[in-house]
């Protein structure tokens, strides 16, 4: 009988979380907002995507509700890495909750410069690379091509001692190939997945609802897609997979953990039900007790590194 299941998770290079429940980049700012969230339930906070210089973000309209989901095209509004390192990190250093900085850029050099600025900064627990950004040179997103994804991962790996998570975009023909490429390039873990590209059109105004035309779709609408991506990736890589995409309930989170995720990130739900993190944490613990599972990795229903063709 397991009375006190161990909810800690290891995400590589010494990054140890007390809970498998994290909050996803862009849904929790830099951790200073959303006071309603019970932080004791969280394993880590992932910050807003951070670039070398401050960015103002896109013109409105930036978000739109869609069936069981939402589109966003915020445009990486952020204060720039220097502000994050000087102003936010010293406050994070006083917390008992690790903060992972999500890093974005539009060139390999920018990713490297951001990583270098954060290396060794107290309060920064790890980096999560957002490789869904377009490369200014090619116009393609780094994350859609295994070679480009590997190049940016390798370059950042060389620039920092911090644990390195790479957040995969699902807008690709073969997410497994990208996952393998970033694993080979030195990623300690992958987050799967970022948002799906979608759009919505205002028929009265006869134009796309969000000003950029397209946006990233999140929420329960994408959960089955995200779950399948995690299922595929977890079978093919040897590093931890962090499941993210439309998780709203304990049952949703359990599905990702059963599919092979080592941890989960909550995104859109943070906007709606701040108490979800605590419910999901407790739901996972309760399930582990019920099923006699001592640790999080005992949840996965399929041994890792078994090749499957689903």
């Amino acid at each position: 009988m397991v009375e006190r299941p161990d909810l800690t998770v290891e995400l590589g290079r010494g990054l140890r979380l007390r809970s498998p429940v994290m909050v996803a980049s862009g849904t929790f700012g830099y951790g200073f907002e959303a006071p309603q969230v019970d932080r004791a339930a969280l394993g880590a906070i992932v910050s807003k995507g951070t670039t070398l210089r401050a960015r103002e973000g896109n013109a409105p309209i930036r978000i739109a509700e869609t069936p069981s989901g939402m589109l966003n095209a915020i445009g990486l509004q952020n204060p720039g890495v220097d502000h994050v390192a000087r102003v936010y990190a010293p406050q994070w250093a006083t917390w008992d909750l690790p903060v992972i900085v999500n890093v974005a850029g539009d060139s390999v050099e920018e990713y490297v410069a951001v990583a270098r600025r954060l290396d060794g900064v107290a309060g920064v627990a790890a980096l999560e690379l957002n490789i869904s950004c377009p490369n200014v040179q090619s116009g393609l997103q780094f994350g859609v091509d295994p070679a480009m994804a590997a190049e940016v991962t390798r370059a950042v790996r060389a620039a920092t001692e911090l644990p390195l998570i790479v957040k995969l975009t699902p807008n690709v023909t073969d997410i497994v190939a990208i996952a393998r490429a970033v694993e080979d390039a030195g990623a300690d873990a992958v987050s799967a997945i970022n948002t799906y590209v979608g759009m919505s059109i205002d028929v009265r105004r006869r134009r796309p609802v969000v000003s950029r035309g397209s946006g990233g779709l999140s929420g329960p609408a994408i959960k089955p897609l995200a779950l399948h991506a995690v299922w595929q990736v977890a079978a093919e890589v040897h590093i931890p997979v962090i499941g993210v995409g439309g998780i709203m309930t304990p049952n949703d989170a359990l599905e990702f953990l059963l599919a092979g995720a080592a941890a989960v990130q909550l995104g859109t739900v943070n906007y709606i039900r701040p108490q979800a993190a605590a419910e999901i944490h407790d739901g996972i613990a309760g399930y582990m007790v019920q099923h006699g599972l001592a640790g999080i990795r005992g949840l996965q229903i399929r041994p890792t590194s078994v090749l499957t063709n689903v």
């Binding site: 849904t27 959303a34 906007y271």
Partner: protein, 264 residues
Amino acid sequence: MGGAVELVVSHPPSAVAVAPGQFFQLAVNAPHTILRRPYSAAWSDSAGGRIGFIFNVVGAGSTWLAALGEGDELDLLGPLGRGFDLDGKRSAICVAGGLGVAVFPGVIQALVARGRTVTVLQGARTAAQLLPAARFAGAEVQVATDDGSAGQHGSVVDLLANLLSHREQFPPPFTGEGQGGGVDILTCGPTPMLTALIDAARRQEIPLSSIQVALETPMGCGVGTCLGCAAPRSAGGYLLTCQEGPCVRADRIEWDAMTDAFHG
């Protein structure tokens, strides 16, 4: 008021905490919806522990809210954002277009309670969509309708322009902030009405700093994390409606960009 619904919520802590112009994020449980719905409190009764919301039934969320019955529970987050700055001694003109009037009952009550002279200019498409003047006790009320079914035939901005052209009603020198004269204008309504109001104010040499606008933008979280509720700022970049608003001084907004974003 045709088509509009008034939802009364009993929640003493919120009724005490809310300031006129602040909003709440209401959770809705309608199929396939996901985000909370931001609504300004129309009024609050701190002694009775109640808050009122007035809205049109336009989509799944408002339909779900409108179907709530007595005794049903509602999940609300708030009060959020910044309300109107109601301090000062000058006359106040509240200009409401369409359902923008929903924010004003509590605002006007608070202005009257501060001893200020208040004029309400309310515009709507048709008479049935007007909030009764009785909801604005202590204020002078003028109305305009697009179809002429009540009050002046035309726009509420015409009422304002007319009022401002009779400046002798207001103490001189009528140069706005810090001058001890003039008026404060508080407004809420559709973007075209707001931009027409801004144009009218500029023509009458009313400083935009004496105008406060309750902004309406699409909103995600309501607490500053999603960065979804951006509005173009005159100083460049964007402000978040949920944090720096919804009530902001009109000189802080880039109105041409506002029109392009929300009405182009």
